[in-house]
Amino acid sequence: MTKPGTMMGKEAFMQNIARRLGRSEPLREAPARMLKGVPEFYRDRKLHGDELVEEFSRNWMALSGKVLLVSEAEAAVTIGAYAREICKEHGIERAARWDHPELNKLGLDETLAEDGIAVLPWRPDGAEIAGLADGGANPDSSGAAGNWARRSALLRAAETCRLGIVWPDVAIANTATLALFSHGGKGRSVSLLTDALLAVFRADQLVTRMGEAFERFKAAHPTLESMPSSLNLITGPSRSADIENDLTIGIHGPGKVYAVIIRP
C-alpha cells in the first residue's frame, strides 16, 4: 500500500497524456497561458466600507439568512443577547463554538449559561469544560459498526449541539459567502453538525469577491505545509431541491443562518 504523500502509476499516466498530445515526453514546466483567473471588469469591481456590508447583507438575506449590525462598543452585550434570543426561539440547549480569541472575548459562554445553555468550545478538553463528556452516543446506531461510539468525546458532544458559533476568516460580499479556514480550534464540525449557525465577524473582514478571499487565504498560509486541510465556503443555509424541485432548507447542515457584522 502507498505511504502518505506518494503517488502510484504517475509515469505511465503522464506518458500517455504526452503521447496523445504528440509529445515525446511529458512537459517539465507548465505551459504558458494567455488568460488566468476572472476577467478584468470583474476583478476591477471593488466595493468599500458600507457598500460591502450592504451587498453582503442583501445577498445573505436573499438566502433566508438574518443579519445583525452592531458597533464595536456594544458588541459583547448585543451579540450575547442575540445568541440567547436565537437559542430561545429554537429551544436550543447546547451550542458549540470555535475556540477563537475574538469569540472568547465576547464571553458568550457566560451569557448563554444564564439561560442554562451549555457551550462547547472546540478544544481537546472542550467536552469536559462544557460538562458534555458523556453525551453524544448515536441515538440510532442500530445495525451500525459502532464507529461513532469510539470517536472523540468532543466530536460526539458537538453532534448534540444545535447551535454552532464561528468567527469566519473572510466574508465575501457579492455572493454572501463565509470563508472558514478550518484548523485547530476552528473545527469543521462546528459549522456543519448543528441546526443553526451564528457567524460573527468584523466589517473589515469583508471582501468583494471570492478571489480576494483566496488571496487572503494564501497570504495567511504561504507554504503548502501551513495550508489548513479545509477551507470552507458557506453561502447560506443547507438546502435541497431534490424532491420535486421543491426547495427544502436545512437538509444536512444548518438550516438557520445568522450573520453578525461588527462595525467600528
Binding site: G37, S141, R188, S238, I243, E244, G250
Partner: protein, 399 residues
C-alpha cells in the same frame, strides 16, 4: 476499482457513505462494493431516493427529478415501516435523521471531485445539502475519485469555474457549501479524516486529448445546463439515454468514453441539432457540431443500416448529375399520380407511409422550381426596370 477495494479491505470497511459522484456511477462502484458485502450509501438526497428505488439518476444535478412526492413517500414508507405524508418537509426530515446516522457510522467517506487545484493539490467539493462536507469530515478515511480532466491550475482559476458552475447549474450565485480540501487532518486538528486518498480516473478521457474535434469535451464542468435546454432531453427524460451521462453532453461523451460507435453512437441522433446546448454551455463546447461529427464517424465506419446507405448513395448519384436529376424529378411527378387524391397524397406505400400515417403529403407540381427559374428571373428583371422595390431580397438571417 482495485485501488479502492484495497483501501476498503485494509480498513475492514463495512459501510461507505458516498457523496454525489457521477464518476463512481461510471465505474459501477456501488455494484462492485455490494458484491463484496460492503454497504455503500448514497447521501445526496436525490441519489438516496434512487438507491431506495434501485434506479439510476435521470439528471446530472437533480438525479431524482422523475420522482414525485407520493412515490418518494412510498419508498420511505417501505424503508421505515411507517406511513409518511407526501410533504417535502416531512420527507426531508426523515432523510436528514436517517442519513445522519450513516455519516456518523461510516468507515469510509467516498466522494467525486468538482475541481482539483494543481498548485496546491487541493480537492474541491460543492454541495447544497452539506452531504459532501459530512462524508469528507466525519469518517476516518476519505477517498476521492476524480476524473482526470477536473483540474484547474490555480486558485485564481478556481474562482472562475466555481462561479460558473453554480450559476449554470442551479442559478445560484454560489453553491451553499464549497470545501477546498488539502490533505488529511493535520496536527492540532480535532476533526477531519485521518487518511485522504485521491484516485485519478482516465476511463476513456485521455483518448480525446489531441483530437482536433473532440478534445474540447473535456472542458465540461458538469453543470447540466445543456440538459435543461435540450428539447430532446426535455421530452424523453434522462433514462431514455440508458447511460450515466444523459442529454446533449451524454450523447457526445458516452460514445467517446466507451469508444463505442455502434451502440452508444446512436445517441448522436437523439438531437435536433438546434444548438440550444451550445448556447447554454458556460464553457462553450460546440456540442451540436460534435453530434454531427459523431454521425459522420458512424457513417464512415459503415455502421448505418444497409437500406440507408443505398438510399444516400443513390441520392448522391442522382443529385450529382443534371440529366439524372431532371429525369428523376420528371418521373417522380408521373410516379406519384396513382396515389394523388384531391391534390394530396393521403396514404402511400413504405417508406412514404411513415409520413402519410399522420399527415398528408402535398403532391409534386408538374413544373419544378428549376424549370421555372428562367421565367422567375425575367420577372425580377422586369420589376427592377419598372422601379418597384425588389422582392425577396431579404438577407438570410445569421444564426
Amino acid at each position: 476499482m482495485k485501488t479502492f477495494l484495497s483501501i476498503a479491505e485494509r480498513h475492514k470497511a463495512k459501510l461507505v457513505a458516498k457523496g454525489k459522484s457521477m464518476v463512481s456511477e461510471e465505474i459501477h462502484l456501488n455494484h462492485h462494493l455490494e458484491e463484496r458485502g460492503i454497504e455503500a450509501i448514497e447521501t445526496d438526497l436525490g441519489e438516496y431516493i434512487l438507491q431506495l428505488a434501485r434506479e439510476t439518476p435521470s439528471h446530472l444535478i437533480i438525479p431524482a427529478i422523475h420522482k414525485n412526492k407520493s412515490q418518494i413517500a412510498a419508498l420511505f414508507e417501505e424503508d421505515a415501516g411507517r406511513p409518511f405524508e407526501p410533504e417535502t418537509k416531512v420527507l426531508a426530515a426523515y432523510a436528514r435523521q436517517k442519513l445522519r446516522n450513516y455519516f456518523l457510522e461510516a468507515d469510509i467517506g467516498l466522494t467525486g471531485c468538482n475541481f482539483g487545484v494543481a498548485e496546491s493539490g487541493s480537492i474541491t467539493l460543492v454541495s447544497n445539502e452539506g452531504n459532501g462536507r459530512m462524508v469528507s469530515t466525519l469518517p476516518k478515511v476519505h477517498v476521492v475519485v476524480m476524473g482526470m480532466e477536473r483540474l484547474v491550475p490555480t486558485f485564481e482559476d478556481l474562482e472562475v469555474v466555481l462561479n460558473m458552475l453554480a450559476r449554470s447549474a442551479t442559478g445560484q450565485k454560489l453553491t451553499t457549501y464549497t470545501s477546498i480540501l488539502t490533505g488529511p487532518k493535520q496536527e492540532g486538528d480535532l476533526d477531519g479524516p485521518e487518511e485522504l486518498h485521491v484516485i485519478i480516473l482516465d476511463n476513456g478521457r485521455s483518448n480525446q486529448l489531441g483530437d482536433p474535434i473532440f478534445q474540447e469535451v473535456l472542458n465540461c464542468i458538469r453543470c447540466a445546463a445543456c440538459l435543461n435546454v435540450c428539447p430532446v432531453y426535455r421530452h424523453v427524460g434522462g433514462h431514455t439515454y440508458g447511460t450515466v451521462y444523459s442529454g446533449p453532453i451524454g450523447a457526445v461523451l458516452t460514445p467517446l468514453l466507451q469508444q463505442d460507435m455502434k451502440e452508444a453512437g446512436t445517441l448522436a441522433y437523439a438531437s435536433s441539432l438546434c444548438g440550444a446546448c451550445y448556447e447554454a454551455c458556460p464553457v462553450k463546447i460546440p456540442l451540436h457540431d460534435m453530434l454531427v461529427h459523431l454521425r459522420h464517424r458512424k457513417v464512415k465506419m459503415k455502421l448505418t443500416s444497409l437500406p440507408e446507405r443505398i438510399a444516400f448513395k443513390s441520392y448522391a448519384t442522382m443529385f450529382g448529375n443534371i440529366t439524372l436529376y431532371k429525369l428523376a424529378t420528371r418521373s417522380a411527378y408521373y410516379a406519384q399520380l396513382p396515389l394523388v387524391r384531391e391534390g394530396k397524397i393521403k396514404s402511400g406505400p413504405p417508406p412514404l407511409s411513415g409520413w402519410t400515417q399522420s399527415r398528408f403529403m402535398p403532391m409534386l407540381p408538374k413544373r419544378s422550381f428549376r424549370d421555372r427559374w428562367a421565367e422567375l428571373q425575367q420577372e425580377l428583371a422586369q420589376r427592377k426596370t419598372d422601379g418597384a422595390a425588389p422582392n425577396g431580397t431579404r438577407k438570410e438571417e445569421k444564426r
